[in-house]
């Protein structure tokens, strides 16, 4: 049973057992515009909660993607390197960025759930 949480920087994180998958939300993908390039973290890279983990670029914008929770990168979605459009087409599915082994699940638990994130979006 997987759970999804969200950050106020518009990343989503889905936890399956010990491993979490991270991507950017539909809202973020839409505001960036057509994604043309992603820079992914190497496997084994340690990231802190809120630390820079990846980069996403559209034609006129570039954003850092922060790790929603701390841990070690176990896998990056290398399919995005040749097909960055997946981030626009399926941001919360095939357009995921990287997988993390979390070092502290409490950090995950503190993030917004879907309802809270929806409310957060309304407040923007």
């Amino acid at each position: 049973m997987s759970e999804v949480r969200y950050t106020d920087q518009h990343e989503w994180i889905r936890l399956d057992g010990d491993e979490a998958t991270v991507g950017i939300t539909k809202y973020a993908a839409e505001s960036l515009g057509d994604v043309v390039f992603v820079e992914l973290p190497a496997s084994g890279k340690a990231v802190a909660a809120g630390g820079e983990a990846a980069v996403v670029e559209s034609v006129k914008a570039a954003s850092d993607i922060y790790a929603p929770a701390g841990g070690t990168v176990t896998l990056a979605n290398s399919a995005l390197e040749s097909a960055p459009s997946k981030v626009n087409e399926d941001p919360e599915g095939e357009g995921w960025f990287f997988k993390l082994k979390l070092s502290n699940k409490d950090e995950f638990a503190k993030l917004m759930d879907a309802a809270a994130y929806a409310k957060f979006l309304e407040s923007l």
Binding site: V36, F37, E39, E57, S58, V59, K60, A61, A62
Partner: protein, 447 residues
């Protein structure tokens, strides 16, 4: 004032529309104390075109133009013949008075020539990709070192002693902030042992060929040694015409080529504006500084060009940009690309051979003078000779006789005792036999 279209009546009518009593009311946010009267500026008033022309021409007449004397200066800037068509074309209003091509629908002219320019630079240097130019060769070299530091995540840069000293100082000033910059010993006319200095902390080795003394360097072994230690080879070319005759750096294993493009299409201009050429391997594309033009299609499927990959640049990445550079050398790239189009393959190779033949002939004549020793064995159109006395006063003495004899090495390396007797001379297609005779006669007398 002839450049200002508004009349007094216009200004009055516009102020009325705005609802302001006078123009000073529009400056109301400026603290009163900060607005100064015209008399605060001890400067002249408006002048007509004729008066300005007269004043400027008077200053110009106090200089000795390269074309007005037997002339042999090089060392990073070269006197070449630029076909008349070049200057005519770059002065077309649509090129001269347009902005950076941010609106591609109405800037295809600029964009297409940039695309052609990038292709020409990649071909000449033997590299995979080139950008739309940087300020000049020296700043391009500094940018190349910074790029190597980013790619390798190492700090140290090793500069060949044959790198133009102004280039070396520019690199030290900028890249020195991010890691140690070491210069090898200066060895005029021979290659220093730079390979021994490359270690696991080295981001890059920077080697100029032909070097500042004119020596053609073999880059292959240096590239191999650098790559073996995970470092990059940056090749610097200050005389781009040389690539019409010499093996390009790309074929010798260079990872980045930083070059000065002044020799093609651009005048001497007392040092600027020039055009920095910058080329690299495709795998380093994302780390490359500067503007890039790319091919695409428009809404009707027609081929067109746009500035692209601009997320590397300052206006989007801001403090995370690959460089703070916000321009290219637009009109100088245009001059370069037009001149190179006129030359073509055949013209450039002929020009390069002619330059080498001229320089060889001059080297023979000078080496035959008693006390003069040719220091540079392998060269393109520039070489160094050792005079029996200090070169700087000899150059000054010859200048008084109307011969501009070259660049004394001491001007570039004032702290280097061994440079004192060295004179760096360039000969190009513009030099005649009469020039050579004048130089030889004057030099004979001076030494």
């Amino acid at each position: 004032m002839r450049y200002l279209p508004l009349t007094t009546d216009d200004r009055r009518a516009m102020l009325a529309k705005i609802g302001a009593p006078d123009v000073d009311a529009l400056f109301r946010d400026v603290p009163n104390s900060a607005v100064v009267p015209l008399s605060a500026f001890n400067l002249p008033d408006t002048q007509g075109e004729m008066e300005v022309d007269r004043g400027m021409s008077k200053m110009a007449a106090r200089n000795v133009a390269a074309g007005a004397a037997p002339f042999f200066c090089g060392a990073g800037a070269y006197k070449h013949h630029v076909p008349s068509a070049v200057d005519h074309l770059i002065q077309r209003s649509e090129f001269l008075t347009s902005y950076t091509p941010y609106q591609p629908e109405i800037a295809q002219g600029t964009l297409q020539y940039l695309f052609e320019f990038q292709t020409q630079v990649a071909l000449l240097t033997g590299m995979e990709v080139a950008n739309a130019s940087l300020y000049d060769g020296s700043t391009a070299t500094a940018e190349a070192v910074l790029m190597a530091q980013r790619i390798t995540k190492r700090g140290k840069a090793i500069l060949s002693g044959g790198l133009h000293p102004h280039y070396a100082e520019t690199v030290e000033t900028v890249a020195g902030l991010f890691g140690p910059v070491e210069r090898t010993k200066v060895t005029p006319g021979s290659a220093e042992d730079i390979i021994a200095l490359i270690d696991e902390q080295t981001a890059c080795v920077v080697v100029q060929s032909p070097d500042v003394f004119g020596l053609i360097r073999n880059l292959r072994p240096i590239a191999e040694a650098a790559h073996a230690k995970g470092a990059l080879l940056i090749a610097v070319v200050t005389e781009i015409v040389s690539l019409g005759l010499l093996e390009p750096p790309g074929a010798q294993g260079a990872d980045i080529v930083a070059a000065e493009g002044q020799s093609i299409g651009n005048g001497l201009n007392f040092g600027g504006p020039y055009v920095g050429l910058f080329a690299t391997r495709e795998k380093f594309l994302r780390q490359m500084p500067g503007r890039l033009c790319g091919e695409t299609v428009d809404a009707e499927g027609r081929r067109g060009f746009v500035l692209t990959l601009s997320t590397r640049e300052q206006h989007i990445r801001r403090e995370k940009a690959t460089s703070n550079i916000c321009t290219n050398s637009g009109l100088c790239t245009l001059a370069f690309t037009i001149h190179l189009s006129l030359l073509g393959e055949d013209g450039l190779t002929r020009l390069a051979r002619l330059n080498h033949a001229k320089a060889s002939a001059l080297a023979d004549k000078l080496a035959a003078l008693p006390g003069v020793e040719l220091v540079t064995g392998a060269f393109f159109n520039e070489f160094t000779v050792k005079l029996p006395k200090a070169a700087a006063p000899v150059v000054d003495a010859l200048a008084k006789k109307g011969v501009i004899a070259g660049v004394p090495a001491s001007r570039l390396l004032p702290r280097e005792k061994s440079a004192e007797g060295l004179l760096i001379l360039a000969a190009t297609e513009t030099n005649t036999d009469e020039d050579f005779d004048a130089l030889v006669a004057a030099l004979k007398e001076a030494i």
